[in-house]
């Protein structure tokens, strides 16, 4: 008996993109292409490297039986393509994968739901499409309905459901799929907070039952809670495979390519509808050297450059620090530092100093923003830059702090009274 659930060897997926793509959707396009070929002295190269998008490039990894394995990566890193190949939705261009066990894949919530059919009918329909036998669905029907909490509307067409009810019923069906290998893509990020927690604990149960789980998510909190091992994908290639906390650090480092500065122009995490005016952010130590990793208790500085129109009356510039799992740690801005009237120049640079960074080792995100008043942002980029905190002997006692100590560091003293 092998202990491997999934073994992927040199998986690659290439798409032909750009002007040269040989994909035509109407006969007219084909004819036009054939005609243009007649007048060309040499045939166009089949697909040059420039027009080939390597969605996946030589990806190899193994997932053990009963393991919860996570895949992290930015948009376009190839993680969805990988899941599609492993769930047999699409085929690889090269390489092979062996799968040992029955696979259930959830690439979407509500796969196969038909709006005209009732909730009851959709449970059977979606269940069958996800690979359940009718007898299996009948056996679990009450459990599914119970989990979803929509029993009163079972005989109503789902097109009349609220989006929350729809998602709950859809997830309930999916959650009761009991394959040996479960492939999940981001679907956890659905529903309200309470339902998300319910989904999360259900996923935890799945992992505990000894089923293999392959999970793709952006939520690093889920990964550290659920997964034992994780793989980081970057531009279709494997950057890291290993235990999940090390993978999270590797992922966060890959975000900025280990740089302590970031160009904010055209940043993907800018809040929509605002005026892009912050241009760059830079993290430095007390000597002004650009850094990405800081030690516990060391000095931390942030430089924010911005340029807005001269008639804009800005109130303040500030930051918000959050943990890798998305938990807020604290915020700090010019509003706090200066007495009224609160006014900063319409363009320039702001430097924020935190003389003692009292955060436990781990990865942190910094969001930066410019405020017009206490309620209105002028420009805001969430999770603009990340930094890591490395352990140090803060107390001078040889005790090294770790991420197990929480987020906050108390630089306190103790007295033993007898």
């Amino acid at each position: 008996m092998s202990d491997i659930a999934i073994k992927a060897e040199h998986l690659s997926k290439r798409y032909v993109i750009g002007a040269n793509r040989q994909r035509f959707h109407t006969i007219g396009e084909i004819i036009a292409h054939k005609l243009s070929g007649v007048f060309m002295t040499q045939s166009t190269p089949a697909a040059s490297d420039a027009t080939l998008l390597k969605a996946l490039d030589d990806v190899s990894f193994e997932v053990k039986k009963g393991e919860a394995f996570a895949i992290v990566g930015h948009n376009g890193s190839g993680k969805s393509t990988l899941l599609k190949i492993l769930s047999r939705v699409t085929t690889p261009s090269a390489g092979r994968a062996q799968i040992y066990g029955r696979v259930g894949s959830l690439l979407e919530v509500g796969t196969g739901f038909h709006p005209e059919l009732t909730g009851r009918e959709n449970v059977y329909l979606s269940g069958a499409i996800l690979g359940m036998r009718k007898a299996e669905i009948t056996a679990k029907f009450d459990e599914i309905v119970d989990f979803s909490g929509v029993e009163r509307f079972l005989d109503t067409p789902v097109k009349r459901y609220s989006s929350g009810m729809y998602v709950r019923l859809a997830f309930a069906v999916a959650a009761h799929l009991e394959p040996e290998i479960l492939i999940v893509d981001e679907v956890l990020a659905v529903g309200d907070a309470a339902f998300q927690t319910k989904c999360l604990s259900k996923m935890g149960d799945v992992a505990k039952r000894g089923q293999t789980v392959l999970l793709v998510t952006h939520n690093l909190g889920f990964i550290s809670n659920l997964a034992e091992r994780a793989m980081v994908l970057q531009r279709g290639q494997v950057k890291f495979v290993g235990n999940s906390s090390a993978a999270i650090s590797a992922y966060l480092r890959s975000i900025e390519d280990n740089k302590g500065s970031c160009d904010l122009r055209g940043h993907a995490n800018r809040e929509p509808g605002l005026t892009p005016s912050m241009t760059s952010v830079r993290l430095t130590d007390k000597d002004g050297l650009e850094k990405q990793s800081f030690s516990v208790g060391g000095e931390w500085r942030l430089e924010l450059e911005y340029a807005s129109k001269s008639d804009v009356r800005l109130m303040s510039a500030g930051i918000f620090i959050s943990s890798a799992a998305g938990l807020g740690v604290g915020s700090f801005d010019t509003f706090m530092c200066f007495p009224p009237p609160h006014r900063i120049p319409s363009s320039g640079m702001i430097r924020l100093y935190i003389p003692e960074l009292l955060l436990c080792p781990g990865e942190y995100f910094v969001s930066v923003g410019l405020m017009l008043d206490q309620h209105h942002a002028y420009d805001l980029v969430r999770r603009a830059i990340s930094f890591s905190v490395e352990t140090s002997d803060l107390y001078g006692t040889g005790h090294m702090l770790s991420s197990d100590h929480g987020l906050c560091v108390f630089k306190g003293t103790a007295e033993i009274l007898t």
């Binding site: 599609k84 939705v89 059919l117 009918e121």
Partner: protein, 289 residues
Amino acid sequence: MSAETSPNRTSISTQVAQPTVVIEAHRSWWELELYELWKYRELILTICWRDIKTRYTQSMIGVGWLLISPLFTIAVMTVIFSYWAKIPSDGVPYPLFVYSAMLPWGYFSKSLERSSTSVANESSLITKVYFPRVIIPIASNLGGLVDCVVGFVLVIAMGLWFGITPTWGILTLPLLLGLAFATALAISLWFTAIHVRYHDIAAVTGILVQVWMYASPVIYPLSMVPEQWRVVYSLNPMVGVIEGFRWALLGKASPDLLLMTISMVIVFVILAGGYLFFKKMERTFADVI
């Protein structure tokens, strides 16, 4: 994969279990994966049931339309082709004559139109979950058979009205339905696979169905086709299907066995080719859909 040793890993596990699924870049064309179809038989029926169910939701008369709309078609055809154009009908009352052919023909043309767009219509499924893609055109063609069976009731009732009692030939109807299904599936497998890539095929289907009807003995009897052209004519597989239905439902003029055999061989060839073509094309469905 056969049992193999993995010396560089662990010496204890010398036997590697057979993988459930092997995903590879290339698949040989002879891997038909027909067992997959059997494994997914419940899904075929479920999708079929969904198609039928959703076709008649929010419809007051529902299945009643299956009886009402052919009555109008028959009336129009009888007036135009029988009273006006004086097309003969081998001694059978023309309404009955035309309807017994309209049943398989209507099934065939509707199936072709419905199933050629079926895979593209299921793009949300195709890009999200695995199942043998061929299930979709199969379910789509299967669903139309229900309409056909409802039509039998009408044709038998009409027969009794005109004083024609069913003969034992009616027992072959399940077989003939099977042949009609195979014919419709054979053609639609080609069309469906092409449609995913080139949507033009939807327009082609419309034209083809029109022309094809006049190339089949729907509104006129086979006896009107000159003797020397019969064999060429029967290369059209719908000729065998329609003649079979007429014989089974009306009990007149037993079908030409040579003609039926030609039809069946042609259907089998197109079906086998269509299946292989579909299997070849389905590998890129999720990427191009």
